[in-house]
Amino acid sequence: MRIDYKLNDKFDMGLVIPTLLLFFIGLAAIYSSTLNNPHASGNFHKQLVWGIGAFIIFFITYSIPTNTFKTLAVPSYLISILMLIVVLVIGKRISGAKSWLGLEGLGFQPSEFAKLGTLLALASFLSRKNTDIETFKDILFALGIGLIPIALIMLEPDLGTSFVFIGLILALLFWKGISLFGLFVVLSPGAVAVASLFGTYYLLGALLIVLLCLIIFKKDLFFSASIFALNLGAGFFTNYVYIALSPHQQTRIRSFINPSADPLGAGYNAIQAKVAIGSGGFWGKGFLAGSQTQLQFIPEQWTDFIYCVIGEEFGFIGTIITLILFLYLFMRILKLANSAKDEFLSLTLVGILTIYFIHLFINIGMVVGIMPVIGIPLPFVSYGGSSLLANILMLGVAANIYRTRKEYT
């Protein structure tokens, strides 16, 4: 009993067990979806190998001294930026986006690791003693740290991963304690940008609301005017970026805004995904017995559409159990973030939580039809080495913080 207690004290089963279960659910789904696909039939074994690698990485990350993360914050950020530039120059283009680096026959996505690098750098900056989140300068600096990788990832272009970074910046600023007005300053350009995608009337409407808010906040005129100008700029810049986007991403955004416009084109995956999930019913059709999956209606199902396999073959039971495992894991990280007294560590944990959460929400939201089809993997479940390793690396950081939590209180 005493040994048990000691183990639990240093090692959080609450983080590891749900993750392991999610990984195994993912393996089953990868097996099922690649069974009849001659081009992907090796993926199950590859994922197993990645899993073993992830296991090792987890224990290394778990065991190193906790203050290493802070020491590594700036170097890892700089390396991430460097890698993102390198991938733009010599990267491999896979399904429209230049996001892969070839390493001896293995694919590698720098953007997966840039998430942790950016997170550590932001957390490090925000937890500095003399950082004042209410000053325009420090907000801008924080945004700058986040926007550099976003800009580089937009150039790949990888829309989904950019969303993750945006969410990450907002969550960290929020956790740091930014005021309502500060949040408004940061958020409003984003809202205007999204509105501009829907058309001119939406853009004008959004700008009107911004104006209204500025009047309510009653800041001085010059300050208000510059914020309004920023919003105006964001609206037009988005239009510019939209035009610069790759055609496949444009159609994806269009098909989300108006799904019936192109039911056989970009909307095809979304429709087939919903059919797969919906036809699964309560108990599912059984392992290896899902017609949508086995007949390969959804291309590359083992990556971004893996949740459909679970939905079709394991039904509502399967999808809900998966959700519950995620929810439990997230609550665990949140609780840990709340109890960690060290600002840097607490911010890091919230960042990890945010990255996981946005992945989950976009991915599952996409397959159940409440989000656009944006290519982004489901953590621990989707096939893919870079994504799995990066996510496990972050889990290792969280477990490490748990291990030494008493030293930092």
């Binding site: 039939s41 929020f174 036809s279 019913g281 017609s291 999808t319 949140l334 159940v368």
Partner: protein, 607 residues
């Protein structure tokens, strides 16, 4: 004040509610889709399904060197079951219809359980037409049961070629693991011989037909009117180097024996015939190989699966004397003026070695003619072990021939080092005398002997022995030739003229194989009789014809029968006759390539 805001309880609650709220939204949406709207989605899943039906390509056929079809395709029917749609209560009825025992279907379905339920499982191949019409009539009552026409191999030329052609068979799980990028369970793959060696050229490319299927997965029409279908592409046809008449002659002559016969065109390295006896009937393998037949073959003490032409390594006996003669003449150790005297035997290093007769004094030409052992005992001591090894190796002994069917052994040429290892540094030199007449530890394969006699016939130049000239492209029907390595010993033809004279006398003088002499075709050759511990001597013969302009070189090896001249030489003669008689009759111009689009299944699809 601001520090209080960091990680405040209020902010924690906001994050908490965002997460829980999002999960609630997702959970609700899942509930809505998977439970409330489940039936709608199920119908959609069932009705919009498109099924891809794999179309197995026709395998390329084999032509012989005269464009005669030797291996082709014959249609046959296969009963299949799609487990997802099948009702196992039908087992009994179907088992009765196809004449199988109860539990037969269950067993096969069980073995295939690891694969998707939507992949049809082949239940029985080669079902007869009665079963096919029964399936047609009752298709409404037999969900998930169908049949397909598949091709089996046919052998229309009346030759067996068991070891050469090889057979195809259902892919084994082990091979499937290795080549899963192309093959699916139940696919056929070349498993031995040429079928295996040229699998990639022969197999073609799979095609796919897309059909729409309803909720019970029955076809309701073509998808996009077949516009999306990918037709299968027939495999390429191989043009073999063999001559089916020579092959037939070899197979018939070897019937009832254990042995092998190989004929080559010495100028090109093309194999005209390659037979190993006993052999087996390939048509038994082409579809439903009966277990009893397989069992019989495996248990046969004469080992019919064993390809003696490339795998049986035995002492070459006196056929090796030609190599020694070339070695001695070429290195200047002897000339035609050099003689030895045979008194019916001679002592070497304390051991007495016999000869078959008292030959008196003779030179190299007559030593070959009479196969005088005493001459060659003396000769190997003159040449020395190192040079003997060097020339044996030059002629390809102790090395693979790299014949295109793969499976072969390289035989063994002992070196001084080998004897030192075995007997120590003072190994008995008397052993060399045995080697001098091709006995002892030395072993060679029939295919090596065929290459060897080709080199002799063509004055030290030939090509890697091979069975395939090339393949015909599907659309243009043009021959894409394969190239083979030239072998050139770099020995002057005057040397070969001397040994060939001896070989000429073997048949046409007073030599050891005068029994196969004929007026029309002048054959030159050399007999061999190799002692072995397992019974009677092995009979060997190497030879070529016509003497002046060799067109065919033959090596024959027969186990445990006796004299080479009596048993092996007549086989060679039959093969030579089969090839050259035809040659004589065929003096009209070369036949054009016949119209391939007739009769032969497999050729018709191409255009």
């Amino acid at each position: 004040m601001r520090a209080d805001k960091f990680a405040s309880l209020q902010r924690k609650s906001i994050i908490y509610f965002i997460i829980v709220g999002s999960f609630a939204v997702l959970g609700f949406r899942l509930f809505q889709m998977q439970i409330v709207e489940h039936t709608d989605y199920s119908e959609k899943a069932a009705s919009n399904s498109i099924k891809a039906i794999e179309e197995t390509p026709l395998r390329g056929v084999f032509y012989d060197r005269n464009m005669k079809v030797v291996v082709d395709n014959i249609p046959a029917y296969t009963l299949r079951i799609v487990p997802a749609d099948y009702d196992t209560t039908l087992n009994k009825i179907i088992e009765a219809e196809i004449g199988e025992k109860t539990g037969y279907i269950n067993k096969i379905l069980k073995e295939n359980r690891i694969y998707s339920k939507f992949i049809p499982v082949r239940i029985k191949r080669g079902i007869n037409f009665k079963v096919v019409s029964w399936l047609e009539e009752n298709s409404d009552h037999l969900p998930g049961v169908d049949y397909v026409v598949e091709m089996q191999r046919g052998y229309p030329a009346g030759i067996r070629g068991s070891h050469m052609f090889g057979y195809t068979k259902e892919i084994t799980p082990k091979l499937l693991e290795k080549y899963k990028d192309y093959y699916k369970p139940g696919d056929y793959i070349g498993y031995s011989g040429l079928e295996k060696a040229y699998e990639k050229i022969l197999r073609g490319e799979k095609g796919y037909d897309y059909v729409r299927v309803d909720s019970r997965r029955r076809e309701i029409g073509k998808y996009k009117n077949g516009a999306a279908d990918i037709p299968s592409v027939k495999g390429n046809d191989l043009i073999l180097t063999i001559d089916s008449d020579v092959q037939r002659a070899a197979e018939e002559a070897l019937k009832g024996r254990r042995g092998a016969a190989v004929a080559m065109d010495p100028k090109t390295g093309e194999i005209l015939a390659l037979a190993s006896a006993p052999d087996y009937d390939l048509s038994e393998f082409s579809y439903v190989t009966s277990k009893e037949y397989l069992q019989k073959l495996y248990n046969d003490p004469e080992k019919p699966f064993f390809n003696r032409a490339t795998m049986a390594a035995n002492p070459p006996g006196s056929t090796f004397k030609i190599m020694e003669a070339v070695a001695a003449l070429n290195s200047g150790v002897i000339t035609t003026a050099t003689t030895f005297t045979c008194r019916g035997g001679q002592e070497f290093y304390g051991r007495y070695f016999k000869c078959d007769a008292v030959h008196g004094t003779l030179n190299i030409v007559h030593a070959i003619e009479h196969s005088c052992n005493v001459f060659f005992y003396n000769l190997i001591y003159k040449i020395g072990m190192d040079r003997w090894d060097e020339y044996a190796s030059k002629f390809g002994f102790g090395h693979d021939t790299h014949i295109d069917i793969g499976d072969e052994v390289s035989g063994f040429i002992p070196t001084p080092g080998y004897y030192v290892k075995r007997y120590g540094p003072n190994w008995p030199k008397s052993i060399m005398a045995s080697l001098g007449i091709g006995q002892g530890e030395v072993s060679v394969t029939p295919i090596q002997l065929a290459k060897y006699v080709s080199l002799i016939a063509n004055d030290g130049v030939t090509y890697t022995p091979h069975l395939v000239r090339g393949y015909l492209t599907n659309n243009t029907r043009k021959l894409v030739p394969f190239s083979y390595k030239k072998i050139d010993l770099g020995i002057d033809s005057s040397i070969f003229n001397i040994v060939k004279e001896g070989m000429f006398l073997v048949v046409n003088g007073s030599g050891t194989a005068t029994n196969i002499r004929s007026k029309d075709i002048l054959i030159a050759g050399k007999t061999g009789t190799a002692q072995n511990p397992h019974g009677k001597n092995h009979a060997l013969f190497i030879g070529f014809a016509p003497f002046k302009d060799p067109k065919i070189a033959v090596a024959v090896f027969i186990e445990n029968v006796g004299f080479g001249a009596t048993y092996a030489a007549p086989v060679a003669k039959k093969m030579i006759d089969a090839y050259l008689e035809k040659d004589k009759n065929k003096n009209e111009e070369k036949k054009p390539i016949p119209d391939l689009n007739t009769k032969i299944i497999g050729a018709t699809i191409a255009n």
